[in-house]
């Protein structure tokens, strides 16, 4: 049985990675699981300089999901490269850095640094709904995505570039094409859906930020649909995510057109969700007599 896939030039022992913002920089999870088993680790969204993030409450639970408005709190790229990266490199897995910024200049500066690091790919976050400037502002249109990606591509010459897309758009294929036309090696989708929860006793939103991003099993059907649509629209490979918990979920995304996947909120259900998902995929392959997992990518047959 062969679970290997190749995502945007990155060889992976299996298609299962953990999603940005749900796994920190790996240290906490290493107390519970063997990081060597993962196809890859996508780091917490990392910016040029340290970011404080939003006021609490920053998270709340919803039906089969949760909202977050973390505000991209992170220690900055310098801290990451000095403290986390050397530690992460001890593991036999791909390290993908989720990069975010508030302006094109910031994205470019950050990309220049990332270009020199011992990392396997960059996931460009153009899709965070929780910070005022930047991120999603660029991510919602063909032109916006193309513009940032073009500039970043010039700075990031030696690493695969994966552009992460927001689902908060009318037509997801537009930003996807923007990324492809600007020379991205892949796209990842979806980020969280802009949402809100109201505390009916206080008659105000639960999150201090008022709105936040919805993630978890609740968004999976939306994500599967979007992965399918993007797979029809672009040729570059897709890193699919949104609500994945089990091996069956992974297979569903791959059939829809994802080459690899990320597990995000699922990691909060249990620290070994990602490991169980790999086992689930193996079980499916056995049951359906699949020798090479990559054979099923995009193989859904529409009615």
């Amino acid at each position: 049985m062969n679970l290997e896939v190749n995502l945007a030039g990155m060889k992976m022992k299996n298609p299962i990675t953990v999603a940005s913002g749900t796994f920190g920089y790996g240290r906490e999870f290493a107390e519970y699981i063997d990081l060597n088993k993962l196809g890859g680790i996508v780091t917490k969204g990392t910016s040029l300089k340290l970011k404080d993030g939003n006021k609490p409450p920053r998270v709340c639970e919803t039906a089969s999901g949760m909202l977050n408005a973390i505000g991209l709190q992170n220690p900055g790229v310098e801290y990451f490269m000095n403290y986390d990266l050397p530690w992460l490199r001890k593991f036999d897995t791909n390290i993908i850095v989720n990069a975010c910024g508030n302006s094109i200049d910031e994205y470019v500066e950050l990309s220049k640094i990332l270009n020199t690091l011992d990392i396997d790919a960059v996931e460009l976050n153009l899709s965070c709904p929780n910070v005022k400037a930047g991120c999603m502002a660029f991510g919602t249109s063909y032109e916006g995505v193309k513009e940032v990606t073009t500039q970043v591509r010039k700075a990031l010459t030696s690493k695969p570039l994966i552009v992460k897309l927001t689902p908060n758009v009318t037509d997801i294929t537009q930003p996807a094409k923007g990324a492809e036309d600007a020379g991205a090696d892949g796209v990842s989708l979806i980020n969280t859906l802009l949402a809100m929860k109201i505390d009916i006793d206080k008659q105000r939103p639960v999150l201090a930020n008022n709105t936040g991003g919805l993630s978890g099993p609740a968004i999976k059907p939306v994500a599967v649909r979007m992965v399918y649509q993007v797979a029809q629209a672009v040729k570059i490979p897709i890193l699919g995510l949104g609500g994945i918990v089990t091996g069956d979920d992974v297979i569903e995304f791959m059939l829809a057109g994802a080459t690899a996947v990320s597990i995000g909120t699922g990691n909060f259900i249990a620290p070994d969700t990602s490991i169980k998902a790999i086992e689930g995929v193996e079980k499916y392959m056995k049951k359906h007599n699949i020798e090479n997992l990559s054979d099923i990518i995009g193989k859904v047959q529409m009615n």
């Binding site: 913002g21 749900t22 796994f23 920190g24 906490e28 999870f29 107390e31 519970y32 917490k44 340290l50 404080d52 993030g53 939003n54 006021k55 609490p56 409450p57 920053r58 998270v59 709340c60 639970e61 039906a63 089969s64 999901g65 949760m66 977050n68 973390i70 709190q73 978890g216 099993p217 918990v245 909120t265 990691n267 909060f268 259900i269 249990a270 620290p271 070994d272």
Partner: protein, 261 residues
């Protein structure tokens, strides 16, 4: 070192209609748990409700490998948890939190708790007592009907001061006022607090005024419980170069001077 383990529910009892006490068999957790730490409990083995529920460790019995926790039935999650049966296996992560209650070097301490905030104070009180530390415990409830664990706390301190806001049982008034009064005569080396926010704020202010070291246990909404989602932020005003710390990892116990609540 935290673990994710399936723990047998050996005993369940209700202290009140809505207050449930559970005893679990958890050798790994019992061996390493420190006072103030908490558990992340999956209330049912399902994806709904999605998130685990944070519940403090109430008591640890190292000889029996048992851990006890007590919770109030608040919403759907704690309701489902209260319906679990003895003999079932609970999926639990713990012991969690690197910020714990510490009493090394203190000879004379004051412990104050309000309502359901008293639960994490028991293991602290017990260990302090065993270590020969002199302690006064102040616990406050709104009224007589809500009073619980009086005998248990009595056994683990030198003096228990129990109050009700309306005077329907024991001393009338807020526990903090009795603590303030006593501290005038006999200044404690440290104050430990857990309870509703107004109480914590009052304790924090008093400790600052009197320049008494103070450790407070905080709550915040959590997703991961282990420091990766950065959800459970608390405003930090101490010497480290950050503006937020996280209740699940850096806490739940903080030095009162280092956090803004």
């Amino acid at each position: 070192m935290p673990f994710n383990v399936k723990c047998k529910l050996v005993k369940k009892e209700f202290l009140k209609d809505d207050i449930c006490k559970m005893t679990i068999l958890a050798p790994e957790i019992a061996k390493s748990a420190k006072p103030g730490q908490f558990l992340e409990i999956r209330v049912v083995d399902n994806i709904e409700p999605l998130l685990r529920r944070p519940i403090s460790i109430y008591n640890v019995d190292k000889d029996k490998d048992e851990v006890e926790f007590i919770f109030q039935i608040k919403g759907n999650g704690t309701e489902l948890l209260s319906k679990r049966r003895e003999g079932e296996l609970l999926d639990i992560m713990g012991p969690l939190g690197y910020g714990t209650f510490k009493f090394d070097g203190y000879k004379n301490i004051a412990i104050i708790g309000g309502g359901i905030g008293i639960f994490p104070l028991y293991e602290l009180s017990k260990r302090a007592k065993n270590a020969g530390v002199n302690s006064s415990i102040y616990i406050g409830f709104r009224n007589k009907d809500l009073v619980m664990l009086e005998d248990e706390f009595k056994k683990v301190c030198d003096e228990l001061i129990l109050t009700t806001d309306d005077g329907s049982y024991a001393k009338k008034g807020f526990a903090i006022n009795f603590l303030k009064e006593d501290a005038k005569q006999n200044k404690p080396d440290c104050i430990y607090a857990c309870g509703p926010l107004p109480m914590l704020k009052a304790v924090q202010a008093f400790a600052k005024e009197e320049n008494i070291p103070c450790q407070i246990s905080l709550e915040e909404r959590m997703a991961c419980g282990i420091g990766v989602c950065l959800g459970c932020a608390v405003k930090y005003v101490g010497n480290d170069n950050v503006n937020y710390k996280h209740v699940c990892k850096n806490g739940p116990v903080f030095n009162a001077t280092e956090v803004e609540i």
